[in-house]
């Protein structure tokens, strides 16, 4: 039975449980002389039965789904001949991958020996058994739940309160998912990073000036020593982000000011959604635009002006990223400027200030914390932006501030290190997680400050 069928069966079973519970409630009520002698309305008895039928079975399903693969793999590995089990971990992983590929009918990398064939057969059998066991387990849990609850239905059972209690727990569980996600991010990134820092010292990583994530396959290989210094990668990120902010902040801020202070309603209704389209375009589209249109343009203009512009210049990526961030800056600052109380403006006008003087000397200073907050959010966006730089920026980590040169960024390195076939114990792939950790910490730091600033600012004028 496939998981989908099991879930459908469970759904049918719990609908049946609902009707059983409701009917039971009606039966109990008719003995006492009508449903008004029940504590709750009959649907609640049905709902209670259905919940107790479905929830335990679903929990079992989640648990099973998460652990099944691990357990089966371990069982299969335990049954492999000693010669294969004795292999080092990474070789063993390859064998396990082969077995799994064989099971799912994909192309197998290594040669298919009889042992592997047998192991694959074993794996398939275990999987079938496990699916059958899961189906039996879930359905019997559902039936047990239904029977138990149904037998307890009486006119004094506080079904509504029980149902509401259960639903409330479900709601709490859902809202805790946000915390679980954060914990998941921190743990997964941190765990792999710690493994990385076992191979490469943390000071070499944070303060090293050279980035060339190669690991030797043989000891005598040319260029066998990899360098994992994050400084050039980070300087590239900052360079591109700085170019982006140089584009986005003036344009975004000025358009926000114009929209909030000058534009009439008609213009605003047209221009604002149009500008926001820029925010809705996927990053991969900007990346393509940067690589196909902007980068050649920048190179041509640069070479006619006599500059030596690389075809994957930081300038091209930064410009396009800036365009992407314009609506982000403008809509956040627009909100902030609109939140400045009209009384402040009226005061300035009454003193004879022109509109631009009012904006420059009254509105902007009053809105400054909010604007700074929105710019910080935009910076964090620029640092974490991936697709534009993957498609338009380079791979070589140059420590330079020249916008015409090729630089690389944290996100580009993460993507290039993790795309393709990976071995999970080489520092090369683990380095991606260390970079991810740095990225997470930096953006988290920016976000926390920005959100705090914006929030405090909002409270100030509310």
């Amino acid at each position: 039975m496939s998981p989908a069928t099991i879930l459908t069966a469970l759904l049918i079973l719990s609908s049946a449980a609902y009707y059983l519970g409701r009917r039971r409630a009606f039966a109990v009520a008719s003995k006492r002389g009508g449903i008004r002698y029940l504590h709750s309305r009959p649907t609640y008895y049905g709902a209670l039965t259905a919940l107790w039928c479905g929830i335990p079975a679903l929990l079992l399903f989640g648990l099973w789904f998460g652990l099944e693969d691990k357990i089966i793999t371990n069982l299969v590995v335990a049954d492999l001949p000693q010669a294969i089990r004795g292999l080092p971990d990474n070789r063993l992983n390859l064998v396990v991958n082969d077995i799994k590929n064989l099971v799912s009918g994909n192309i197998v990398a290594g040669e298919v020996t009889a042992t592997i064939q047998a192991a694959a057969e074993h794996y398939r059998n275990l999987k079938t058994t496990s699916n059958a066991a899961l189906a039996v387990g879930m359905l019997s849990l559902g039936i047990v739940g239904t029977v138990v609850v149904r037998s307890r239905i009486s006119s004094t059972l506080r079904a509504r309160n029980l149902v509401e209690q259960l639903v409330k727990y479900l709601l709490i569980a859902c809202s805790c998912l946000a915390i679980l996600t954060t914990i998941g991010i921190v743990l997964s990134v941190l765990y792999e990073s710690l493994r990385f820092f076992e191979a490469v010292s943390i000071t070499d990583f944070l303060f090293g000036l050279e980035w060339s994530p190669q690991m030797a396959i043989r000891a005598d290989q040319v260029g066998s020593s990899g360098a994992f210094g994050v400084i050039p990668v980070f300087s590239g990120t900052l360079l591109i982000s700085a170019i982006a902010m140089l584009v986005a902040v003036p344009i975004g801020l000025m358009s926000a000011i114009y929209l909030a202070e000058y534009a009439n309603k008609k213009f605003r209704d047209v221009a604002k959604p149009l500008l926001e389209i820029l925010a809705g375009i996927p990053a991969v589209v900007y990346g393509f635009f940067a690589a196909i249109t902007v980068a050649p343009f920048v190179r041509n203009v640069g070479s006619t002006l006599g500059f030596d512009v690389s075809s994957e210049s930081a300038l091209a990526a930064g410009l396009v990223m800036g365009v992407m961030i314009i609506p982000f800056v403008s809509s956040l600052s627009d909100d902030v400027i609109n939140a400045v109380p009209q009384a402040l403006r009226d005061g300035a006008y009454s003193l004879g200030a022109t509109r631009s003087e009012t904006i420059k000397q009254v509105v902007l200073p009053a809105a400054l914390p909010g604007i700074v907050g929105s710019i910080l959010l935009a910076v964090s966006r620029a640092i974490g932006e991936t697709m534009i730089v993957v498609m338009a920026a380079g791979l070589s980590a140059n420590l330079t501030l020249n916008p015409f040169k090729t630089v690389t960024t944290v996100t580009v390195q993460i993507v290039t290190l993790l795309i393709g076939d990976q071995e999970f114990d080489s520092p090369k792939t683990l380095a991606a997680f260390a970079l991810g950790l740095v990225l997470f910490i930096v953006t988290l730091f920016l976000n926390v400050i920005a959100l705090k600033v914006v929030r405090r600012y909002r409270e100030q004028y509310e």
């Binding site: 998460g66 691990k70 946000a178 975004g252 996927p282 990346g287 393509f288 196909i292 631009s356």
Partner: protein, 430 residues
């Protein structure tokens, strides 16, 4: 300032005079400032226009494809009844090309001739024979897709008047194409393949259907998980949660998650779903899970805003007639907040549809020809397909990338339009 005052002793200048003196300058500054604002907006709109023009200009031709007409004699000597599915259809195409151009001799010339036709031509003949074996032994004229280089030439992307060594088609090939043109055996047609096929190494055979189906499955998972969970979380935080440290923590968390770079979610998916739980790589299921975690904050924030906009009088009314708190929420507040929640969800889904980076991390970048048939089949999604094609060196893929982008943008616009319509229709001012 009048004459009388300026005569005689130096009269003290009044403030109003100083003001008047500077007025022209101040008005100029005012106009300048205003102009800056307008320029900023115009620059933004200009960027938007350039972006759209460049994408459409690059891609609109991809909706057509060049086809060549072949007079195919389905040779019974080549095709006997037993090996219809494995017969040498490439040979069939080649022999027919040779009969069309009998003057071509020599191996390298012949090879150049064969290169005019896409490898897809052989598949097409095979399909025809398998569908209707009776055509064996007959002469049928068939339109088969031309090779991408021919296609590019026909669409004017390659110039014919440069040196032979610097273009992809040789002089002989150009002459043959010219000959075909004169005979009316080459024409452009609507490119159906682009909308019905999966990925391919050959641009003329590549399509977006596989990626679109992958996107559909991933978004289905995302929608089924993120909407109920998001609404539930929002309801709890807005209606039930006591104001304490714990709920504060959850709030801060949600706001931060909304601003975490999407690639970090990809790392989470890789470490947790693939490495820890051992889910299959490249599966829409995992893609959907990662996108769920990513869109949840957006949906929760939008749903909370929708709940906040329901006036307290509704709640008090429900409680007043004896509803329990849960009944009040489920029967009265939720139905009123639902349109707002749906709007937020559609916008979140639109963002998920355009998201690429986290899906690269969980292996959805594989080269996949087959159309995925389920949640665990290896597949890719539209934006990743765009990324993959953008990396391909062939000129024809530039065109197809732009066309795929147009398709993606159309989907996004439809979703956003749906959100706007929904908001307009159900928006209530209390």
């Amino acid at each position: 300032m009048n004459e009388g005052d300026s005569k005689g002793n130096k009269v003290e200048r009044k403030t109003i005079d100083i003001v008047h003196q500077g007025l022209a300058k101040r008005y100029r500054a005012e106009r300048r400032f205003r102009l800056y604002g307008l320029t900023a907006i115009l620059i933004g709109l200009l960027c938007l226009a350039i972006l759209f023009i460049s994408i459409v200009g690059n891609g609109y031709k991809a909706f057509q494809q060049t086809y060549l007409e072949l007079e195919v004699f389905f040779d019974p000597a080549l095709l006997d009844q037993h090996n219809l599915s494995t017969a040498d259809y490439t040979g069939l195409v080649k022999s027919n090309l040779r009969t069309m151009f009998p003057e071509v001799r020599g191996r390298s010339d012949k090879r150049q001739l064969y290169m005019l036709i896409s490898p897809g031509g052989a598949f097409q003949l095979r399909k025809m024979v398998l569908r209707d074996p009776d055509i064996i032994g007959r002469n049928i004229s068939v339109w088969v897709p031309a090779d991408d280089d021919v296609d590019m030439l026909m669409k004017g992307h390659f110039k014919a008047d440069v040196a032979e060594s610097s273009r992809r088609l040789s002089d002989k090939q150009l002459a043959w194409i010219e000959q075909l043109k004169e005979q009316g055996k080459i024409r452009k047609e609507f490119n159906k393949t682009f909308f019905t096929a999966g990925d391919s190494r050959e641009p003329e055979l590549a399509g977006i259907w596989g990626a679109a189906v992958g996107s559909f499955f991933a978004l289905l998972v995302t929608l089924l998980l993120s909407f109920p969970i998001g609404v539930a979380a929002a309801v709890y935080l807005e209606e039930f949660a006591p104001k304490n440290r714990w709920t504060d923590l959850i709030e801060v968390n949600i706001n931060n998650l909304a601003a975490v770079p999407s690639i970090v979610f990809g790392l989470l998916g890789l470490a947790v779903f693939l490495n820890f739980f051992g889910f299959p790589r490249s599966a829409p299921l995992v893609g959907g899970l990662v996108l769920t975690l990513m869109t949840l904050p957006t949906i929760i924030i939008a749903s909370r805003a929708a709940l906040q906009s329901v006036p307290p009088s509704i709640r008090e009314g429900a409680l007043g007639v004896g509803a329990s708190k849960m009944q009040m929420v489920v029967h009265h507040v939720l139905p009123l907040a639902l349109p707002g929640m749906l709007t937020g969800t559609i916008i979140g889904m639109a963002r998920a549809l355009g998201e690429t980076a986290p899906l690269l991390m969980i292996g959805m970048v594989a080269f996949i020809v087959d159309i995925p048939g389920g949640l665990t089949d290896p597949s890719t999604v539209l934006p990743v397909q765009i990324y993959l094609w953008a990396d391909s060196p062939e000129r024809a893929f530039v065109e197809r990338t732009s066309a795929a982008i147009m398709v993606l943008l159309v989907f996004l616009m439809l979703m956003n339009a749906a959100a706007i319509v929904l908001r307009r229709k159900f928006e209530k001012r209390w």
